[in-house]
């Protein structure tokens, strides 16, 4: 099969900045994107820089953007990605500084992972034999432990793009791995740190990380689990936690969300500076006749909804 691999190149030693270079090549039908890149490097252009090792989606070194989304080059079939003209676009991961061509600097990535203390911290007397953890508790961690630290999720994270301080999907998934481990004694302290600015509440729930992760780690789902956990151990006083609380109350109350009350309840009626922050858009909207003065209507049989909320919560409390 004939393909055109368009590579976004960069060499700090010349002054060309970033530029696209197209490589035409003949390659077998079942080749991966990585096969094509290696073929280019070996046969046409020895200056093309990339990282790879295992070629079987284990080492995590070949993550890059293919047609605009981060993926492992070694488990992406070339034929699945080419357009009608037989072309694919390959770029280095975003949200990482580029060293050369497809090779990025991962220092920040590792720093963030280290930030969550990714090791077991258990206290109390040492067990006689091995520390036994139930199958059930470890099974639910198996998904996170499949992470190969490739960085694909960080590359495509929406928040990382605007704020490099955000701790990010890979590190947060790693944090969940220890918060969720029954042998760890520092879960509450860990959650306290994650509850801070740039932590679990800064995620915008965009699912980019879930979509691109080649290992099914679903970092965002872990972040949501951490939020639930943080609320349950009593970290209910951050803006994000209150937002989730108030939202739930409003739906329970009327069946629907009352958007005007949401910011007021989230920031608190007495938190004037924060409330004023919402004022510009509220006022602008009022002027344009966009916002209804106060919109609040209940669904028919709202009592049914309120009862349902109570019943579900009671049953959940009973089950612990």
């Amino acid at each position: 099969m004939q393909v055109i691999v368009s590579v976004n190149r960069f060499n700090p030693k010349d002054n060309n900045g970033k530029y696209w270079e197209d490589y035409n090549l003949e390659i077998e039908e079942n080749a991966t994107v990585l096969d094509a890149l290696i073929k280019i490097r070996e046969e046409t252009d020895g200056s093309l820089a990339m990282r790879c090792s295992c070629r079987s989606a284990i080492c995590g070194s070949c993550a890059m953007r293919v047609n605009g989304h981060a993926r492992l080059a070694c488990n992406t079939k070339l034929a699945d990605m080419t357009d009608e003209a037989g072309m694919i676009k390959v770029e280095p991961m975003t949200n990482f500084p580029v060293i050369k061509d497809l090779v990025v600097d991962q220092q920040m990535f590792w720093d963030k992972v280290k930030q969550v203390s990714p090791w077991l911290q258990s206290e109390g007397p040492e067990p006689k034999g091995e520390y036994v953890a139930s199958n059930e508790s470890m099974n639910q961690l198996a998904g996170v432990m499949a992470c190969i630290m490739c960085g694909a999720c960080v590359s495509d994270c929406s928040v990382m793009e605007v704020d490099k301080n955000f701790i990010g999907p890979a590190a947060l998934a790693k944090a969940y791995r220890f918060v969720g481990d029954p042998r760890d004694s520092k879960s509450v302290e860990r959650l306290g740190v994650l509850n801070e600015y740039s932590g679990i509440w800064d995620c915008t729930r965009c699912y980019e990380c879930v979509e691109v992760c080649p290992k099914g780690v679903a970092p965002m789902d872990r972040i949501m689990a951490l939020r639930e956990e943080a609320i349950s151990v009593g970290y209910g006083d951050t803006m994000g936690a209150r937002h989730a609380d108030v939202f739930s109350d409003l739906v329970e109350d009327s069946g629907w969300l009352d958007e005007l009350r949401l910011p007021i309840k989230t920031v608190g009626i007495f938190n004037l500076p924060a409330l004023l922050n919402f004022a510009p858009v509220g006022l602008r909207a009022l002027v344009k006749g966009k916002m209804p003065a106060i919109f609040h209507h209940n669904v028919p049989n709202v009592q049914n909804v309120r009862n349902l909320f109570k019943r579900v919560r009671n049953d959940q409390n009973k089950d612990g």
Binding site: D163, C206, V210, H243, F247, V251, M291, R311
Partner: protein, 296 residues
């Protein structure tokens, strides 16, 4: 064609121009609507309630699905967030019979049961899958030729693609572009197309949220788009309502109108811009209207 219509709350609350516009367009397309909020359906939980209690969220959505099953009608939504949250809940309910039974236990008190047959879909998908692009074209009275439009999908109508059954329904991936073309407009490919608008963190980290608005609106403008078009009212709230903040935060002039999908279809059908609520936006839509020679 008849649907159990789930308008969501933003289409009647924060973006009250959306609900009437969607109803006008549906009526014109011959789509009959049985409104689920009048039948006691609630909010989907928007993913926010799920952060606190996913099971409760799934019970609420199963309840809505059961109500629609009772009517014998498929569900239609007009919000990317409603679509995503419903699709995710539906996947959990349909793939796990034990879980479904547990959820149904909660519904039984009200005499409801979800049988697992719902397949909620956005008006956007209905136009492409149920009505069809060729038929849609026949409704165009005022072709939008000359308009360059940047599609802004919103996260929940494109991810997770498995929950949204993209593999089964191949047309979903570029549905917005295809509708734009059917109406005579030219889609502009831009980097923000399937990115997040930042709405969910607006109250938590306004600076980051507003920066996302700035990035998407500015890049669409730079690529020559006349407006952004979105099937998600929450995206609209942020991209339209917070564009002035975005301009202030990044010190640049952007001023690119954000148009709801039904408003766009309505314009092409020949409706008056006022009826479609196009005068109610924060960022004026006048430039777009004058480009297709509609008096404001």
């Amino acid at each position: 064609m008849k649907f159990a219509f789930f308008p969501g709350c933003v289409s009647r609350g924060g973006c009250p121009e959306l609900y009437p516009a969607a109803k006008k367009v549906c009526a014109q397309l011959g789509i009959e609507l049985d409104e689920l909020q009048d039948r006691g359906a609630t909010c989907t939980g928007a993913g926010v309630l799920q952060e606190k209690n996913q099971f409760l969220g799934d019970v609420l959505n199963a309840r809505t699905f059961a109500i629609a099953e009772g009517l014998g009608l498929p569900i239609m939504v007009i919000c990317s967030t409603c679509q995503g949250v419903m699709s995710q809940a539906n996947r959990r309910l349909k793939t796990n019979p034990d879980y479904l039974a547990k959820v149904n236990e909660q519904l039984s008190e009200e005499g409801l049961e979800y049988k697992g047959t719902a397949s909620p879909r956005h008006l956007l998908w209905v136009m492409v899958e149920d009505i069809g692009i060729d038929v849609l074209k026949t409704y165009v009275r005022r072709p939008l030729s000359g308009l360059r439009l940047a599609p802004f999908y919103g996260c929940y109508i494109v991810r997770p693609s498995d929950d949204l059954e993209f593999k089964l329904y191949r047309d979903r991936e570029d549905s917005l572009e295809r509708v734009m073309e059917a109406l005579g407009a030219e889609p502009v490919d831009f980097p923000g197309k399937t990115r997040c608008c930042g709405f969910p963190i607006l109250t938590i980290n306004e600076k980051n949220s507003v920066q996302m608005v700035a990035n998407h609106t500015a890049s669409a403008k730079q690529l020559g788009a006349d407006a952004l078009v979105t099937p998600c009212p929450l995206c609209h709230l942020n991209l339209d309502g917070y564009q002035p903040s975005a301009m202030r935060q990044t010190q640049q002039d952007i001023n690119i109108p954000i148009i709801h999908l039904p408003q766009l279809v309505g314009l092409a059908m020949g409706f008056d811009p006022k009826e479609l609520g196009l005068s109610r936006h924060i960022i004026s839509t006048k430039k777009v209207l004058s480009k297709i020679q509609v008096a404001v």
